[in-house]
Amino acid sequence: MEMIHLILIIFLGGAVLTYFAGKVNDILRDALFILSILVPAILFFTNVNPESYIDLSIAGFNMKWGITHFGWIFSLIVLGLGVIVSFYAVSFMKGRDKVGSFYFNFILSIGAMLGILLSQDFVSFFIFWEIMTWSSYLMVVYNGNQVQKIGIKYFVFSAVGAYAMLMAIVITHSITGSFLITDLIAVFPQLSNQMHILIPILFLIGFGVKSAMMPLHVWAPGAYSNTPMAYTSVFSGALSKMGVYGMVLIMITLISHIPEGHWFREVIAWMGAFTAVLGTLWAVAQDDAKKLLAYSSVAQLGYIITGVAIGTELAMLSALFLSILHALFKGTLFMAVGAIEKQTGTSNFTEVSGLIRKMPWTFLASLMAIIALAGIPPLGGFVGKWMLYESLINSNHYILVIMIFFSSTAAFLYCYKFLFGFFLGQEEKEWAHVKEAPALMVVPMIILAAGTFILGAYPGLILSPIDAGMQAIGFEATQGHYWEMSVILNQWGDQVVLQPIVYAIFAIFLFFFLFLFFKSRKNTRYVTTKDISSSGEVPLEHENLTFSQNFFQPFLRAVEPVMRRQIDKYYNEFGRGLEAIFDFGRRIYTGNGQTYAIYVIIFVIILLFFKNNLFG
């Protein structure tokens, strides 16, 4: 048996077995759950060689499975994040009901994502895509609140995307007679103009939905925030990257071969930038951490999409680097929110505050992730952002630079809100009992957060596989010095040397911190956050002095004209209008048997009347 088959079968069988093991024994179930992600991951990284394929045929469709160097980058995200989060999930799900179905969907979606990366033909690509979609859908509705709204919205948008993709696939097949991705890429330049536009647009819709691109993003906030946080890490970190993967693989390779490609790139890049800006603004306005992170994910994917669309070497490097990094820090943050929610029972900033002393490790992980998210050196986020800016400037997209920078700056607002809302501020008595999350939850967070740090100092670790992957999809090999040292360089030869920066900054930082801390520890004591200067008043225990309502109200007032127009509303109106039309349409079934009989006669008369048009 081929290793790829084995891996996929372990995923599938593991999912089913884990589900049924839950009926027998909880520990067995947990162990099976971790194993059925861990084992395939190990098998995959040890035994599957990139660029070696197997052919098989199902139902008359020729399929080709195997991983490209390019897909390998994403498999790193999927499996890496999957394995780490699976440990977290065991602890997160302890004591909840329907754990079995959670594990089932978890394993299945990880397997499906790997399947997407493995499939080199459209049929299996689509199959895995849909499995991924419905398994993640079942996660979205897992909690059972607002399923009819959020769940259906997610699935409808996913279906729109998937069907657009399916349409492109069948059109492709009708033209090329083949489902292999390489065949489409080979044939594409010779197609008609109409197809040059139609096929990329359809694929764009398909992948744009999953990667939450601007007009198609409305499902994301609800879906991300409604999913159990253990899965949202994967959802936002890995699953949305499948859209990016597809976009790079198909969009960029396709449209780089056609004359109209330039315009496509522009449009997508602009959409990505708008996604980033609006996503950020909306994130700033949220009071719920899950929603905030969800919008933030939308915005971050906006950067990635922009990078992908620009499509120069550096831009692509940055997009892929950011993809990996986004998986790291957003995984951490969602896990942190999950830990907080598990410990306190809420994820709302207006309710929780001052957890820093209760959950210091969670705070540390969040802090590092936030710094990475904000793109502040020395953590990895900066490297990605830097490459993005450089590539945008080098490719003359000046306005996009401004937009991305704006969104990146405005991101500080919600970054601060996240840290302040949960960890800083008043320590209320209500949360005095809160304890640090179990080690099984904290350690994965710390591992991921440490990953952002390592990538900040040594981006070369990940940039070299990325470069190999990019060569696989037709980019030229980048010069070696991108990663030999941790120097990053733009096309003008301006450079940023990372290691000395990191060391220097940390040396200074440590010095000052130690200076302040040890110098004053002898005669410094901790006072509670009630002990503040508030006009001489002594705030009592029950008096809540936390500032968390209308947090960025002045800023939001300033950007109010932009925020007022919600795409969501238009979609809702559209949906409601459609349903009204549908409702009108079904009134044709009046319920009166005689009317139906009259329909028969009318039908006959119409047919007879138009018989020459119809049958002539």
């Binding site: 009134r587 009046t590 319920g591 009166n592 048997g593 005689q594």
Partner: protein, 123 residues
């Protein structure tokens, strides 16, 4: 062609069509269930008449072979349509019977025979 026979033929077809139209009127316009059933039966009757008329040949003999009386095949009326009509009549009878039993059920259930008032199931 004999005039009277032509008129007869027109009479056959005409009355068949008139019957069908009358039946349609009854089935589509009348509000009473019973009348609708009657209308359907009249349509059936019209159709049967139409079929018979198609098989009719002037001066034809009955398509019956009995004993040694050998009849020229070309001169007998089409036996097939007659067989069809017989079958159709039987079927029509069955349908009418089911329809009438349903009417009884409907009347018991709804207390009315007006089809306008029997529309619990709609949309």
């Amino acid at each position: 062609m004999d005039n009277s026979l032509q008129y007869l033929e027109i009479g056959f077809y005409g009355s068949a069509i008139i019957l069908i139209l009358v039946g349609l009127y009854g089935a589509l316009m009348k509000k009473s269930l019973i009348k609708i059933v009657i209308g359907l039966s009249i349509i059936d009757a019209g159709l049967h008449l139409l079929m018979i008329s198609i098989g009719y040949i002037k001066n034809g003999t009955a398509p019956i072979f009995s004993g040694e009386d050998f009849v020229v095949a070309g001169n007998m009326v089409d036996p097939v349509v007659q067989a069809l009509v017989l079958t159709a009549i039987v079927i029509g009878f069955g349908v009418t019977a089911v329809a009438l039993s349903l009417v009884i059920r409907l009347y018991r259930h709804h207390g009315t025979l007006k089809i306008d008032e029997i529309k619990n199931l709609k949309w």
